[in-house]
Symmetry: C2
Subunit: 428 residues, 2 copies
Amino acid sequence: MAIQDEMRDLALRSKAASRGLARLSSAEKDRALSAMADAILAAAPALKTANEADLEVGRSLGLSGAMMDRLALDDRRIAAMAQGLREVAALPDPVGRILDERIRPNGLRLRKIAVPIGVVVIIYESRPNVTADAASLCLKTGNATILRGGKEALNSNRLIASTLVAAARAAVPGFPEDAILVVPTSDREAIPALLSQTDCVDLCMPRGGEGLIRAVTACSKVPVIKHYKGVCHVYVHAAADLGMAEEIVFNAKCQRPSTCNAAETLLVDRSVAARFLPCVTSRLLGKGVAFHADPEALPGIRFGAGNRPVEAREATEEDWSTEYNDYVLNVRVVADVDEAIAHIHRHGSAHSDTIVTADTVVAGRFLQEVDSAAVYWNASTRFTDGAEYGMGAEIGISTDKIGARGPMGLEELCTYKWQGFGTGQVRV
Amino acid sequence: MAIQDEMRDLALRSKAASRGLARLSSAEKDRALSAMADAILAAAPALKTANEADLEVGRSLGLSGAMMDRLALDDRRIAAMAQGLREVAALPDPVGRILDERIRPNGLRLRKIAVPIGVVVIIYESRPNVTADAASLCLKTGNATILRGGKEALNSNRLIASTLVAAARAAVPGFPEDAILVVPTSDREAIPALLSQTDCVDLCMPRGGEGLIRAVTACSKVPVIKHYKGVCHVYVHAAADLGMAEEIVFNAKCQRPSTCNAAETLLVDRSVAARFLPCVTSRLLGKGVAFHADPEALPGIRFGAGNRPVEAREATEEDWSTEYNDYVLNVRVVADVDEAIAHIHRHGSAHSDTIVTADTVVAGRFLQEVDSAAVYWNASTRFTDGAEYGMGAEIGISTDKIGARGPMGLEELCTYKWQGFGTGQVRV
């Protein structure tokens, strides 16, 4: 079958499955999830065998050690997958929540109610545990899902999906056979072909590196929710508690630099730069942070380093928009909150930005004007995360404005519809 | 300037204006709207002169009488524009609403708050009054807007926009000069060029015929919210109050057939078809409705017509998916609610569908399973409308699932962001 036809077929099957999922009760979905957890544990030997074949592919492709590690399934990871399924089962069902309700003068009662989106395509790299994770969140929210993992993980992914569906079908009569589909080919043309099925596919969520996400977005004809990267800022205002500011900068940069909500850039008001930069530099040097700074900030950084060796150079224009995922920090001295906001709008990724200040008026302006998914006052950027927000589960983070924004949990995997309850009302 | 550069410039100016709009208070926005209303009235003579030039273009293009009527501005329409601006000023500000709030165990307070989307492109046909209408709703919600009306309305649209902005700038210091922009060319290439500015344009809303909307959607690289057409269904279930069903069918089809929420198809359960079809046919014939029906429904329709002439023929496959915007009704006999829902999913446009029944279980299934923006029980499909929903104003109707769904008022012209209020919290 030509790839276009093959993807058409996949999309149609998924859409049909989504109709079946929309009929399931909360109890049925949770029963399916529990059965899936049991089945994943029982299938551990088979999963490791399938994964061995993938690891063989990975070796032949010359994957790096880190990539090979992400690809590997062992008993610990299989147990974690099962545990994840049980945790999702235990969460409240987001479908059916009443988001708004009104009774019109003619007696018509209108309800805005959370409902499944329909068919969700998830594109990700390597890690087969994402397969169970994404499938469980989509199932909990009544969505059919089409999964496309890394080509080197195809054997593992297909077996995980078929194990999950078989378990769910055994536990829940009427559970749709195509509720969780894996794109059965690693053909690169599969993605544009799948993402042109506008009448079947309702949403695509790519997860991974910026290159992957840009490629998916460029070819998609269906809505995409994503974030390209996290270039997050800590702005230390003139009226900041500098001790607090130092803690926040250190945490935002160093607590886990590989994450998208880690800070890449420190902006500091001119009036406190001379006091603040040496202190914060000294602290960051303990973690071996390198600095890309504007000429005005460099002396303070070098002074803070004292006799210690410091990697500090002038920042390039490109640096200001770079996500390092590493112990590297851009530093710029700014005149005031206006200059800070302008810098963030020009160079940021609209992900997470924070101001440290004791001035409520300035903080209010920052919170209102900075056009990012998450803005903080006197807190680390690292909090932009489903678990930290109390969402129970996270499927990704969005810097988009149409649809979900910020951390995406179960509620963000729903759309809504309007239900009208009448007693024969007609329009006059 | 090449069209790509010209649209880039327009998009950048609009994005900069959106930053300024995000800083305005509710009172400033409302003061601007009131000043705009006064200015539109004061500019009536100039507007009519500009409109004369457009009407001249329209005549030279050989526009139909109906199109020429839609293009024309007279004192009544100008007064209505001013009145519309005042009404929008009087509505509550949807920006700043707290949609969710939670305090985390670490003391971090999180707020999900309604904010402007940013830059909204609105594409529409002819009617220059839409220019003031759309601009006012976008301004109220703090969005910058780029308007693209019909090419024959360019003179009117440009003068309306410049009048609005001049008035707002006189009334509100700092009101951004580029808050309301009109695409200054009727070059067809302007639309794809504008809708490829993904870093500036946040949303496009096309309004008009299905052809226009499909063309816009096909070329856009930014999110589009739209409905292509309204193929709405009335399903008369076996347990319906047939008198109520007749009123609802009549209203849904005949009260205003040109609207997208008018019904195009009647589905009726086999067990009541013989009783219901003659009655409803007789009623609809009073409005000269023509029928496209399945073979099983045709005899009941012909019987209901009695001696009166009736236009009734067998429905084609295409008919079931056609929006007539006219006194034409598809009729199909179905076995049960499953067959009705399957028909709606296969042929409908996911706009508005209703069931008439006294059976609460069946109604519940219909309301849950029919995957449309608005689903009704014992009410006309004609209620899908911003005013009928109590939204105060409507900028369009969406059958999309990502972003707004159903009628779109002011709240639907907002997105949200997360604000975190800390006291120095860092992630552990």
